[in-house]
């Protein structure tokens, strides 16, 4: 019973938490799972939509490189390339 009460309480609280930061639905395309798994660690994915569709391929490459080199995102080279490719194809100019 106590467990049930706690479960009920958690449900009540979690619902508005979702409302607070609404999930961002990025375009479904190859690489989206890598974007969601890596980028969303530090920031919400609306950053990607907000910076679209005006960044060129070179500018998206620079953004991904900045996140890895300056911001310390632990993303290996292959994933970095997959993320940049996804952004260029789906949110590029």
């Amino acid at each position: 019973m106590r467990a049930l009460t706690i479960a009920f309480f958690i449900t009540l609280i979690v619902v508005p938490a979702i409302a607070e930061e609404k999930p961002i639905e990025l375009k479904k395309a190859p690489g989206v799972e890598k974007v969601e798994a890596n980028c969303a660690t530090c920031h919400s994915l609306d950053y990607i939509e907000m910076n679209s569709p005006f960044l060129s391929a070179a500018q998206w490459d620079a953004e991904v490189a900045k996140m890895i080199r300056a911001m310390g995102a632990p993303i290996d080279e292959a994933d970095g390339k997959a993320i940049a490719d996804y952004l260029k194809k789906n949110y590029g100019s």
Partner: protein, 413 residues
């Protein structure tokens, strides 16, 4: 795990949501604010699609640009008065780990190699010191970045990454005097309680030159418009650097260091830089200058028409008052001039109450809708050292200092 902080935030969200609608200025609905932003043709398409009105705990609905870290701008309607309400004041963070600071346990450490000693102050210690109050504009360096053509990467702010409040606190100079500043000191370094998610992400650390820190207008503030600072504006204390852009106004301040070498972290260089020679630079930060660039410092003279949304309809033959606000880095606003013929001729607007040289200055101008069709009204502010607004954007890589003259177009029917 459900933390106490989480529960408190949720309680705040509900309160803000329930209280929001009747707190907007008269005649303004949240939907109208959102709509004005969403239809601005100058903003990137992706920004207009993702931006929504959303309430952070303790805040009215603001224009959400990003949830995490929270970047929320103030809708235009709140800029019809010189003071921006606390719960409508914009929110800007670089890092997502933002602790709820407990005022009872909060401490401010002051020291550094350029200091003769060190000290820890709590909130009561600060409040026991001589207090000063000042009305000053807090404006993000990248305010209006979203209006740049071509667009540049970053938070795509419209007009509302700014606000003006009455700040109360102590002079930073009085805090520094408690420990003594050595003569070789060159910069004062600020750190706040907000932190990165990853250890390798640079913490948000900022510095200002010693001369600026010692000015009597630079504060450690603990009140905003007669209230404790809102959580999202830096509770329990933040740095206030009137005249300089908001990047130096470090929130949730926990550490002040007097240093003898220039601060070299990411947020001082390469971030927050402007090319040398492109903007007026009365207020220099020499210890940080390079051959090519300099940290952004003083706010550029600027103005904004806020009485009407762009594109609003007016009946032919009717009259209205066009108004707004003007501000600069603290020389003070000398005049605001208005043009109804795309800048060929200008007439002076009437200036409103002067709340101090760092404050928003309201202005008003009578306008008659004489001819049918589109009629444009443009504003141009000039400060007391004759600096004025450009007609064309001054391009710079990070999208700072947008102070192009603002205009609105009436649809006269």
């Amino acid at each position: 795990m459900i933390t106490r902080r989480f529960l408190l935030e949720m309680a705040g969200t509900s309160a803000a949501f329930l209280g929001a609608s009747h707190l907007l200025p008269r005649g303004v609905s949240p939907a109208a604010s959102e709509s004005a932003f969403k239809h601005s043709p100058l903003l990137p398409e992706g920004t207009r699609a993702e931006a929504i009105l959303d309430s952070l705990p303790g805040k009215r609905p603001l224009i959400k640009l990003s949830y995490r870290p929270p970047n929320y701008e103030t809708p235009l309607e709140y800029f019809r008065t010189a003071i921006t309400p606390n719960d409508a004041f914009f929110v800007r963070y670089h890092l997502s780990n933002i602790p709820k600071v407990d005022a009872k346990t909060w401490k401010l450490k002051v020291g550094g190699e350029g200091a003769s000693g060190e000290i820890q102050l709590n909130l009561d210690d600060l409040k026991a010191m001589p207090a000063v109050e000042m009305v000053a504009v807090n404006q993000c360096s990248g305010n209006r970045r979203g209006l740049f053509t071509p667009h540049v990467a970053g938070v795509q702010w419209g007009y509302g990454a700014m606000g003006c409040a009455r700040w109360k606190g102590v002079m930073l100079k009085d805090v520094l005097d408690k420990i003594g500043v050595k003569k070789e000191a060159i910069e004062i370094v600020f750190d706040g309680a907000d932190e990165p998610i990853l250890d390798k992400t640079p913490d948000f650390i900022k510095s200002i030159p010693i001369w600026k820190a010692l000015e009597e207008t630079t504060l450690v503030a603990y009140e905003m418009n007669g209230q404790p600072l809102p959580h999202f504006n830096g509770f329990p204390a933040r740095i206030v650097v009137p005249g300089w852009t908001a990047t130096y106004w470090v929130k949730h301040i926990t550490s002040i260091k007097i240093v003898t070498k220039p601060e070299s972290g990411f947020w001082m260089n390469p971030a927050y830089r402007i090319p040398l020679g492109k903007f007026p630079a009365e207020s220099r930060f020499i210890s940080q200058e390079t051959a090519n660039n300099t940290p952004i410092t003083e706010i550029m003279v600027n103005s904004l028409i806020t009485s009407h949304a762009d594109g609003v309809s007016l009946k032919g033959g009717s009259s209205t008052t066009v108004g707004g606000i003007a501000w600069d880095s603290g020389y003070g606003i000398q005049s605001v001039d208005m043009s109804t013929d795309e800048g060929r001729t200008w007439l002076p607007a009437t200036l409103g109450e002067d709340l101090g040289r760092f404050a928003f200055r309201t202005f008003s101008f009578p306008f008659s809708a004489n001819s049918k069709g589109k009629q444009t009204v443009m504003a141009r502010a000039t400060n007391r050292i004759s600096q004025t607004q450009p007609t064309e954007l001054i391009q710079n890589p990070a999208g700072y200092h947008h102070n192009v003259m603002h205009s609105i177009t009436f649809n006269v029917t």
